[in-house]
Symmetry: C2
Subunit: 461 residues, 2 copies
């Protein structure tokens, strides 16, 4: 008969203590396989506990497979093969702690930040509270696969008014970030596709494509954007481009080249993924028509994100599919749940409906424009023969230096003063930029700090 010490003074229930003891003994072969256990009644009497307690412990042991019951015969120990070689892990003793990324820089001219200082936080919080109050039940149910219909309607209206894009909410898919949408596109387009990305370009796109083992090629740029010569003579059939403001060069692809790219896609039955990530921020003239708005053959997948114009933490991006792909999606991919929480979808809908989004963009456009002007003034006061490129659009500019300039030396000197600058060549996978150049993001640094940073640069450059 088992004699276990059961402790009523501790939190663990008696049945669980009993279960633990018996399990331990089975695992350590103290009770060998095939052994009959005492009957519930006898064990209960022996340990001076209730029959129900023994029954609960035995049931637990049965449900986990340590013992089994033969009807009207009793309880027997199972054959727990290999259990000893697989003892419970003590992996929790491994001392690991994630590196918290802390910056060494005071003045960060980064391209992947957003000015959260100017986010209309009180309006957003107010709308969130309204959603919390009004939506109640709806908040707890999943949104449609493609995203809330009301949000997609607002996005369609916005695209029509600001980007000249005519589309139906049915063509729009909302997702948790552009990276996630790229994942969806890869699935949607299926096998036997050859992708191309721009070189130089936004590394992440290529990384995602490679993470899925897709066949991916880098295409060089000329002064109008992706090189048609290279595109046409490649066997690529899906092209990722940012014609409105190429990253990092800032090239704006002219209309003729746009039609050429569309013609290529149409003839090849290929697709263009048009990443329009910072098109809202155009500082002079009206926006250039998106490829999507020129496309009559249904070859353009248009992508944009609220991460760049609202807040990166929101994780809301969207894409506009050509109808052919809408049908494929509706047929084969409806099983997916939308990846963005309803709560934030409702809040963003209200933000757009109320005109707050438009106002926010206009406000940020002015703020960024002022920063560019500050940078221009600072640059000219440096007296350094620096040419500025891409200052009419987007969220970064390119500073080109005279032939022979040692960019590494310049960025190292900047680093000593706590200033973060990026050599444009770091965005090249192969080849180099035609001139020494620095990419300057101005979304994460205000006017005051821009001036301070350039004052420091004056000392060392």
């Amino acid at each position: 008969m088992f004699t276990y010490i059961l402790n009523t003074g501790i939190k663990t229930p008696i049945y669980e203590q009993l279960y633990d003891h018996i399990k331990e003994d089975i695992l350590n072969n103290v009770i060998p396989k095939g052994e009959k256990l005492p009957s519930k009644r006898r064990l209960a009497a022996h340990l001076k506990i209730s029959v129900l307690t023994v029954e609960t412990a035995y049931e637990q042991l049965i449900s986990e497979g340590y013992i089994y019951s033969k009807p009207k015969r009793g309880y027997y120990v199972n054959d727990i093969q290999n259990s000893l070689s697989l003892a419970p892990s003590d992996i929790d003793t491994i001392p690991v702690r994630e590196n918290q990324t802390r910056s060494d820089y005071i003045y960060e001219f980064k391209t992947n930040t957003v000015d959260t200082e100017n986010f209309p936080f009180s309006v957003w919080a107010k709308l969130m509270r309204e959603v919390l109050r009004d939506k109640d039940k709806e908040l707890l149910n999943k949104s449609e696969t493609k995203g809330l219909y009301s949000l997609r309607t607002e996005i369609a209206k916005y695209l029509k008014a600001y980007r000249g894009i005519s589309c139906q909410p049915e063509q729009i898919i909302v997702g948790a970030g552009s990276e996630y949408l790229i994942n969806l596109i890869i699935q949607l387009l299926g096998e036997n596709k050859k992708y191309a990305v721009e070189n130089p370009g936004y590394h992440k796109i290529a990384k995602i494509l490679q993470a899925y083992n897709t066949d991916t090629e880098y295409l060089p740029l000329d002064e109008q954007g992706v090189s048609m010569e290279h595109l046409i003579y490649s066997d690529v059939n899906v092209l990722h481009v940012s014609p409105s403001h190429q990253f990092p060069t800032g090239i704006i692809t002219p209309i003729k080249r746009r039609y050429e790219i569309l013609k290529w896609a149409s003839e090849k039955n290929g697709y263009i993924i048009e990443d329009d990530y910072d098109s809202e921020f155009r500082y002079s003239g009206k926006p250039i028509p998106a490829l999507q708005s020129l496309d009559t053959a249904g070859r353009v997948i248009y992508m944009n994100t609220f991460a760049k114009n609202l807040a990166p933490s929101l994780r809301i991006s969207y894409m506009v599919l050509p109808w052919e792909l809408v049908y494929t999606f509706d047929r084969d991919f409806r099983f997916y749940s939308n990846t963005v929480s309803c709560f934030e979808q409702y809040t963003l809908t209200k933000f757009m409906e109320g005109g707050y989004f438009e106002r926010h963009i206009n406000r940020m456009r002015n703020i960024y424009k002022t920063r560019i002007n500050t940078i221009k003034d600072c640059i000219s006061s440096l007296n350094k023969n620096i040419t500025i490129h891409g200052e009419n659009t987007g969220l970064h500019i390119v500073l080109e230096f005279p032939e022979g300039t040692d960019i590494k030396l310049l960025t190292d000197k900047a680093k000593e003063k706590g200033i973060f600058l990026t050599d444009i060549n770091s965005y090249y996978v192969k080849g180099r930029h035609h001139k020494p150049a620095i990419v300057l993001g101005y979304t994460g640094i205000n006017n005051e700090n821009i001036i301070k940073a350039f004052d420091l640069l004056k000392e060392v450059w």
Copy 2:
């Protein structure tokens, strides 16, 4: 000289009207390629507008590539090849409206719903407001790739206390839904993997694996879970299982089989994706140890979700990686942004820290247990020789009927009364269940409606 009517009485700025007119004329070949445009000064005088207005229009035309300027010579029309064959799309006239899915059913015994009636909405809203008030800036920045460290710490504590799983926050990856995490796993495990899913099973997993064109096999079950015979003689190296409560059969894999599966993975250097989706809901005894907690060889990827125990709209799932995969992730996948908004990550962290999550689970467990008892009572009052399976765990049960029962007839009759029931065979890709059976989810239907539904079934069955 161009003579355009420019209207100062409308909202569109003059420069934009001028730009539109010239662009139109270029597109329609009214102004042929190579043609020299009038100088800014002459056109301004002719149209009685300012030189600056003409300049703005010309600049816009240049930036879009319709015209180009030759220094000191003037402005010339570009060669817009193919532009006529690609006229702007009028796709927005296509009248499409998404089908809104409306249910024909009043009593839905579905397995993919969650009881949002009992969601602690006021607590959640309170915590959201606190986060809105206290977090401010943090809310607008991206969380770490794997998710907020504080949230992952809470998840690790929870897993230790409730599932016997010892893990570090570093091993945990938070993502926008289990489907998204499966996508990540596919990338993480890389090429040349052969996946297996259970048959019958949760269709979505196989669909996702197929959407990525992975090699995927269905493995049959025996009464203990996935068939070892089939597993061992397959060339599978990644197995997706739900050993704690198989969907839809409700099978709880006993401890011996668990060790066998672990041994298989260890010998094969394969991986087990352990989907523990409804393990919180165990109604008698304590939870069965997860495969992850028995795994010493680092072969188990543990997955769980807050969609089933909180609200589907939250889109927060997580997985626990073995260390080998943590290192791979940290090396190759850090470039990904986390897909869950910071706002909801902070709120969930507070919800767990404050003990609200634990209380919610306990409360729901009692509510669901009462529903199961109601169903049991209703079933026995039907006098139909129905056996109930899987009633001790999870969020659904299986009703087995005597051999020869026509399940189609039963579900059709139920449908007539507005009752939604599912034939278990609908979850089989090949083969059939060993007995006629119905899968009954009780998360979306309260006690009162359960009784009403069974009263109606009594009339027709």
